[in-house]
């Protein structure tokens, strides 16, 4: 009882604090699920742990919740070291994958569960408000199995949020929903997070979901954090091939550094000269060294070879042959066979469609050198491709 009251006071008075993971790692026998990692989730932010299944993201989340004991390192919530606390003594709540609603309790009692366990007697007002927040006031007396997937998901969120945790952990909360509902719930969750201002840590394998919802994304791969940053920053400036391929699609070209003059690096790839800003090259670019040159498919313009003269000076150019096109409404996706890269992907908006751009056509691909990034060539060029497709 004493622990309960102290916890209530903590939850009520001390709302603040970042989540700090220091050297936290998890091994099962000889298998390392999470390599020791440091991570700070700023207070009040919407933070996403993104990665393919088995990358250690859920284990990391469960270590914050206390459901998994770390093999090394510590978990801090604000100033409090919670590493040794069992889950029922941590001011943290979880929205479980497939929700884990109590089947024998109705919606009202599911939502009231946390309050009642902390010895709070009058729960009616709070439960009512919380059910209104997630728009389920009418369903209070139904059992979980009588609700749709989207409604169950909202109950799971309400059941966790009503406790005003310092951190709300979401373990693939939208995985079981169909695409349309998932989009709707993404906005809904974002709205709730803005409204309550609680730190959300969201685990997902869906890169679009992570980018839409989160302020900060940590991309995880094989038990390590590959890169951490704001969604746009991760997308524009991936530092590893895994991030480049897992977040959206990247065209990666193996190239050799020609010269490094001023702010730009000039590289040669299969006879074409390409320019990229030195600031966007995370690889050590010495003359004669290898780099991977990357560019996103939507940054590229496609011009038929007959009109090559009309392309402005100063743009990166590569020539090739269209091997495949697919029309998907707002845009058309082209696959171009180039000497430097056999499957160069280009997404072009369907503003004015050039009817000559059909499979077999000779084309020039050109883009602004500022949109080019450089990666260390000493890594797998296809890392993250399969994971990105599976997700």
């Amino acid at each position: 009882m004493t622990t309960n009251t102290t916890k209530n006071q903590k939850a009520a008075t001390d709302g603040g604090g970042d989540v700090r993971l220091a050297g936290i790692g998890k091994t099962y026998g000889s298998f390392t699920a999470v390599h020791p990692l440091d991570l700070t989730v700023p207070e009040g932010s919407f933070f996403a742990l993104l990665g393919a299944s088995g990358c250690g993201k859920t284990t990391t989340l469960r270590m914050i919740a206390g459901l998994e004991e770390p093999s090394s390192g510590t978990v801090h919530l604000g100033d409090q070291d919670v590493t040794a606390l069992p889950p029922y003594k941590r001011p943290v709540n979880t929205v479980f994958q497939s929700y884990a609603l109590f089947p024998h309790l109705d919606i009202y009692e599911n939502v009231a569960f946390g309050l009642r366990r902390r010895g709070i007697k009058s729960v009616k007002k709070q439960v009512g408000e919380m059910l209104d927040l997630v728009q389920l006031g009418e369903q209070a007396r139904k059992k979980p199995h009588q609700l749709s997937g989207g409604q169950q998901q909202r109950v799971a969120v309400a059941r966790a949020l009503i406790n005003h945790p310092k951190v709300l952990l979401l373990d693939e909360p939208l995985g079981a929903l169909d695409l349309k509902l998932r989009r709707q719930m993404q906005l809904e969750l974002k709205r709730i997070q803005t409204e309550v201002g609680i730190t959300f840590v969201h685990v997902t394998h869906d890169q679009e979901e992570a980018m839409t919802m989160a302020d900060q994304v940590a991309v995880m791969n094989a038990g390590r954090v590959e890169q951490l940053g704001a969604p746009a920053d991760l997308y524009e400036n991936p530092r590893t091939t895994f991030v480049a391929n897992f977040l959206g699609t990247s065209n990666l070209i193996e190239a050799e550094v020609d010269t490094r003059g001023g702010e730009d690096v000039v590289v040669k790839a299969a006879g074409d000269k390409l320019v990229l800003p030195g600031a966007r090259c995370s690889a050590p670019a010495k003359a004669g060294g290898k780099v991977l040159v990357g560019v996103r498919p939507e940054k590229i313009s496609l011009t038929h070879a007959d009109d090559a003269g009309s392309i402005p000076e100063g743009r990166n150019r590569i020539t090739g042959t269209i091997s495949n096109t697919s029309f998907i409404g707002v845009s058309t996706q082209y696959v171009v066979d180039c000497a430097a890269c056999p499957e160069f992907e280009v997404y072009a908006q369907n503003i004015d469609r050039d009817p000559r751009l059909a499979p077999g056509a000779e084309v020039v691909l050109h883009w602004n050198p500022a949109h080019t990034f450089g990666l260390d060539a000493a890594q797998d060029i296809d890392a993250g491709v399969a994971e990105g497709e599976a997700a």
Partner: protein, 270 residues
Amino acid sequence: MAFVTSFKNWFKRNLVVIAGLLTLAYLLLPNVIVTVFSFNKPNGRFNYEWQQFSTDAWKDPCGVAGLCGSLSLSLQIALWATLGATALGTAIAFALVRYRFRARGAINSLIFLPMAMPEVVMAASLLTLFLNMGAQLGFWTILIAHIMFCLSFVVTAVKARVMSMDPRLEQAAQDLYAGPFQTFVRVTLPIAAPGIAAGALLAFALSFDDFIITNFNAGSTVTFPMFVWGSAQRGTPVQINVIGTAMFVIAVLFVLASMVIGNRRNRRKA
């Protein structure tokens, strides 16, 4: 000719119904006989031939010496055996599903032994055990024997339920500030309850009408099944049919009541 074809068609259409009714009759006929003969007024000691309608036996169910005593003893033993076997069996089932320990596989199969072994063999070996230990045969030896053979049924019923339980439910309870005890009482137990109830009902039924094992280990104590068997040698009092019919009616009423409650609950939800 036309009549034969139309009968054939009718028969084809209603084949399932006819088969169902025949099966039902097969199941219920013995109970009907028991009930009918509970209103009989036999000439002599044997209640095997219909003589005339009478409610004498119903008015005086305890009119035969020893009958109601044996019935009450059987009910007591069944109750305690159910409690003991359910408590132990539930604990065993949880241990077998939740924990990895040495000889877990062996125990998993050993638990089924009492179900597989011929009852008469088990009865004889239990008697040997009790005699060697110098135990006095009676209420306690019967109870120990009953708990023993009811255990495996309870374990089987509860295990199935616990295995299908999502372990995340208990994690969710812990995440929502329920300590280990609260988690067990508020989440684990209520969800496992249908399995535990099924196991308990089975245990009660098995214990109540067990004859072979009880007969070996009862000493001079007489349970209801033993009383029925004993009196069948000397003549069957109508009261036995009365008790049988009453038990059948009570069981049916229980089933009906649970159905009504279930329906009402469903209607309220919808």
